[in-house]
């Protein structure tokens, strides 16, 4: 498979060779990006920095955060064997939700791209439709559906399939279902973009070279849409790992995640320094995972094409 430079790349290359964009262009670009930068600094980096500083502190005897003796002690304390089950559980939920989202999302995105026709936009809007309602409200709706006197159990008992309600709410199943439901649109959108951008003639070329339909998909379509797959996986896995609303509402006594522990440390424990440290460790794991995934992707796509 040879990745060719798309026509869109040409003018950019030409521009660079003639000395780059004009100063006025760069200025207006700077002005355009300014609100975004201010937003990120004020509402993301600054709070993050504050948390980073707090994570080095401790609670004084009056319960206030003090930075008198900054140390990494909170981080050392965060590595507790007792937390291991919750950590594994978090990875399990996020991993399962990611795999399910990709498994469900890819065919949907593929279908919309190849068979959506004039209705593509409408179908994409339908994918995003759930965002019009607060995620929390939608999770509550799942509670109504899944609870013991809920819709699913009601159907099962009224059709005589079961005698008494089976517990669905407050189980692993409910948590994974809720997460998959919640993050599926985040998976479908990047998958759609990469599938839709794929030049159909490449698949045709594969077929002309006697590839079966399955072979063309596995050796042409799938590798070329891998960036979309990785983006979809990241957009599902990362928020799922930090999600404590779904495990909290749909889960039960045996489904505690790391994110929930962080919340408990902040609210019940009033221990901001320790909670911050645990939060940062979770973030470090996430960033590490993201970098690994992106590196794999680079080797897969760019590295692969450069070799030819």
């Amino acid at each position: 498979v040879t990745a060719t430079a798309t026509p869109a790349d040409q003018p950019r290359t030409a521009l660079r060779e003639t000395g780059g964009p004009r100063l006025s262009d760069r200025l207006s670009a700077g002005v355009l990006i300014l609100p975004g930068v201010v937003w990120l600094i004020a509402l993301f980096l600054l709070p993050l920095g504050i948390m980073a500083v707090i994570s080095l502190g401790a609670n004084d005897p009056n319960g206030h955060v003090t930075l008198a003796n900054p140390s990494l002690g909170n981080y050392a304390e965060a590595f507790r064997a007792e937390y291991f089950p919750a950590f594994v559980r978090s990875l399990y939920y996020a991993g399962a939700a990611t795999i399910l989202s990709l498994g469900i999302g890819y065919p949907v995105a593929y279908w919309i791209s190849r068979h959506g026709g004039r209705r593509k936009i409408l179908l994409l809007i339908l994918v995003m439709l759930p965002f019009w309602t607060s995620w929390l409200i939608r999770t509550y709706a799942w509670m109504i559906i899944l609870r013991d006197n809920g819709i699913v159990n009601g159907l099962l008992t009224s059709t005589g399939l079961i005698d008494s309600p089976i517990p669905i709410l407050n189980t692993d199943f409910a948590v994974i279902l809720g997460m998959t439901y919640g993050f599926l649109p985040y998976a479908i959108l990047p998958l759609f973009v990469s599938i839709d951008r794929l030049d159909e003639s490449l698949v045709q070329a594969g077929r002309d070279l006697y590839a079966s339909g399955r072979g063309a998909f596995l050796h042409v379509t799938l590798p070329l849409t891998m960036p979309g797959v990785v983006a979809a996986a990241l957009l599902t896995f990362i928020p799922a790992l930090g999600d404590f609303v779904t495990p909290d509402l749909l889960g039960g006594a045996q489904t505690t995640t790391i994110a929930k522990l962080v919340q408990v440390i902040f609210t019940s424990g009033h221990d901001w320094p320790y909670g911050s440290a645990l939060g940062f460790l979770l973030m470090a794991v996430t960033i590490l995972g993201t970098l690994l995934a992106l590196r794999t992707l680079r080797q897969e796509v760019i590295g692969g094409s450069a070799a030819r």
Binding site: N59, D60, P61, N62, G63, R80, E82, Y83, F84, P85, A86, S134, W135, L136, I137, Y140, I144, R147, D148, N149, G150, P165, P167, L169, N170, F244, V245, D248, L249, G251, G252, A253, Q254, T256, K260, L261, V264, I265, F266, T267, S268, G269, H270, D271
Partner: protein
Amino acid sequence: MSERDLPGMSFNEALEENLALARWSRREFLGRVAAFGAATALTQLLVACGQGGASPSAAAPTAGPTPAGTTTAEATATPEPTPVPTPEGELFVYNWDGYIGEDTVANFQDKYGIKVKYDLFPDEATQIGKLQSDGKGGGYDVSYPASTWMPSFIQDGLVRQLDHSLIPNLKNLSATWQNPGYDPGNAYSVPNYWWTTGFAWDPKHISKDLTSWDALWDSAYSGHMAMLDDMRECFGAAAFRLGLSPNTTDLAELDQIVQLLEQQKPLLRLYTQDDIGDLTSGSLWLTHAWSGDWVQMTYDKPKTKYAIPSEGAVRGNDVMVVLAGAPHPIAAHLWIDFNLDADVSAANTNYIGYMGPNDAALPKIDDYIKNDPKLNPPPEVLAQLVELKYLAPADLDQYTNRWTALRA
């Protein structure tokens, strides 16, 4: 529930309608909606719809005194204009939703001509966070924290010392509430409601009359039980079962307590944040519960039972405080005095089902509350109840470390 046209309804009506279908109380729903910050905007909308007032911290509190005359339009409702010993025309109250009598705010406004901006918080963490945000109460005049916060609030200067001469109705407090441990002499706070933490069950599934904490460790109910998602209450329940104090800071005793909770965890369906909804929806047969929540459960399932366990139980109460940065401290005192009035206090209790500490209100409290030994326990049961004490951060850490390990 009739099919009504949504566009014709106010947002609140529509919400009530939907909640009725979903069998949640509005208070519970609002509480949980905002519990996770994800729906902050929605909450603000609900608050705005419910009260028509903006958050005082957002809408810069009126710093200067407002002449009372400017807002006394409603005062004409009272035949004899009550002398208003205040130059303040507004009052910012921060409280749970559905926590006072339905007419309390309107009656206060009528009586004093003071406009009340009544803001709601969804859960305690939000409340405390907001009150502590600027170190002097987040711009509010009055709030209702749990009494366990008082030692820390007093020490931090978050609350204002009360001027008892402005609260003549303090005389209505029963003798047992004149000198509480968390705030001797009620110098900074006035007790508001009190409750017990026991357990509630659905007699459809459990016909036995449960009396002991043992029930929540009974494997016969495995998978159908919940404990409250509340660290101190869970430690308290296990402590009572072991004959220990729910305020223990002895590490060996804490280990014993958490060991007992470890034994219990596999039997639990969940640690609930919605004991009312989870029991009335049939998910639970038996749940650790607050007495006031039990009253709300009976609205939905009248046969629901509640017990104050024989080994003893936690008695909790909340208090009314004037915050250190209160923009309208005199109006705040008037509010507290008003809520200590026998009629107002009784109306509050009759609405929510929590007993107040108000002796004068007792004759006016509904019989079903007053005569229920679970809501208004006899002296020998009262003697078994223990107040949760504020824990110093180092002791609290010992609790939290064990609690997070248990929950993980």
